[in-house]
Amino acid sequence: MSMTNNLSTGLTSEQALADIESERRLLGILIKHPNYVDAAVERLRAEHFVDPIHRKIYQAILDLYTLGGRISYTQLFNRLRKDGSIPSLEKALLELTEAFVSPAEFEPSLDILIEKHAKRAILQAAEEIQRMVLLDTVENLSALQAKAQELIFQATSQSGEEDVKDLMTVLNKCYVQLVERKEGRKPYGLPVRFPAIDVMTTGFKKKDLIILAARPSMGKTSLALNFAVNVAKPPRNVPVLIFSLEMDDEQIGDRLVLSELFRYRNRDGSPVVSPMDYSTRLDDEQFAKTQGVFNELFNLPIYICDKRGLSVTEIRAKARKVKAEAPDLGLIIIDYLQLIKPPPNSGNRNHALVVGDIVRELRDLAGELDLPIILLSQLNRGVEQRENKRPVMSDLRDSGNIEEFADVIMFLYREDYYYPEKARAEGTEGYTEVIFAKQRKGPTGSCYIRFAKEFTRFIEESPRREGE
């Protein structure tokens, strides 16, 4: 791609962001000390060189290296001669023989080339965005925003950390986190402040995809919203992004307020503000309490996107945008998988494969943004036909390779959903079993919380068992 002229120097931006001396130095070292080629191959590609002749020489070095051949000036001369693309080959190689003083210059030169290349990539993305905006080549604003984010993301993710790390690097990171946890500065994962759940998970881990699945009306959305508020509240104030593909922003706002109003009780235990009161007319005391809840919630760093029919591409673009604005974004909740729009070219493909691709892409997004993503999911009707209606992994089978890609799979099960009268008689209404069917980094098993359905609020409360 051609670069624009830099007005003050007369150089193109690409020329201004080149370091030809470092390019020569690096090639000179590689030819005289071929044992450095291994280190170069790891981090350096031909496009890191600006000078087209240097690019060809580096590629020839890589070709000789790949073929297991000897690397020398004469071998390079012979290889490049046959290619015929460098007219002044003799001069180009002669220049390299005196380009460096010591092989100790290898690492600094390599770093310079990588840095210059990363800067050029950012500049190219900026120029491409400028071209798209000015020439109006993209059909609508949201597509333009998504494309611009994609370009910037690609340009800024090229100089990331290496794919293959030595054990010392990995253990160093683990040790820093261990010390931070010991000193109470950093929990292992992101606690959602339901102790029973946090004990099972030790907090949701960054880069993990967590599936929260249940039959309709079991309380998936409520629990996810409770997680969001708990995480976003002081003292942690972790920003949360919610994609609600079913409910609109007002419905979510009302649910958040109602679930917080659950805390306020009269002396007889009845709620100060009942859901009915909230949705009709409040007296002054109720209004004051409700206003207090609004004030608490106003400042929480929760972002809500209630646009329906989003595809993974759009979810990714919006998530990247929020992450750019709130770099400490710590949790994404997507409600729910079956409402995510499949890509346009998936019409003839098996539904399970399409859903599998969506799940995999969301897991990649969790990795890319370095945070946990909680993906809500429906379960198929097979659950209803069994005597034991506790969900099991196979109930997800119609939904692609969820079992394979998810790091954590949680199911919700409430007995009162199926046997309300029995639960009423036994006083177990709302008791909810949270089943951890899969945890890559933790145990499987169950824990219990209680669902106050009318307040869309889960609370920490162990169920009463027979004989207790």
Binding site: K32, R70, S72, Y73, T74, Q75, F77, N78, R81, L89, E90, L93, L94, T97, E98
Partner: protein, 62 residues
């Protein structure tokens, strides 16, 4: 020592370029040029006799 290496490498490049010109003029074949360049590349490993044997026949062209 380093200067000596660089001088030797420059000499090899010049030799290689000179023989490449002969190849362009059609005075030596592809195979002959490959053989010459290989000999130049391994000049430090070859004895005087071996060099004479591999390159001597091209003296007439110099």
């Amino acid at each position: 020592m380093s200067q000596l290496y660089e001088e030797a490498e420059r000499l090899k490049i010049r030799f290689a370029a000179a023989y490449s010109k002969l190849h362009q003029q059609g005075l030596i074949t592809d195979e002959e040029l490959d053989d010459i360049l290989d000999a130049i590349d391994r000049i430090d490993e070859l004895s005087t006799e071996e060099l004479e044997q591999r390159l001597g026949r091209f003296k007439r062209l110099a």
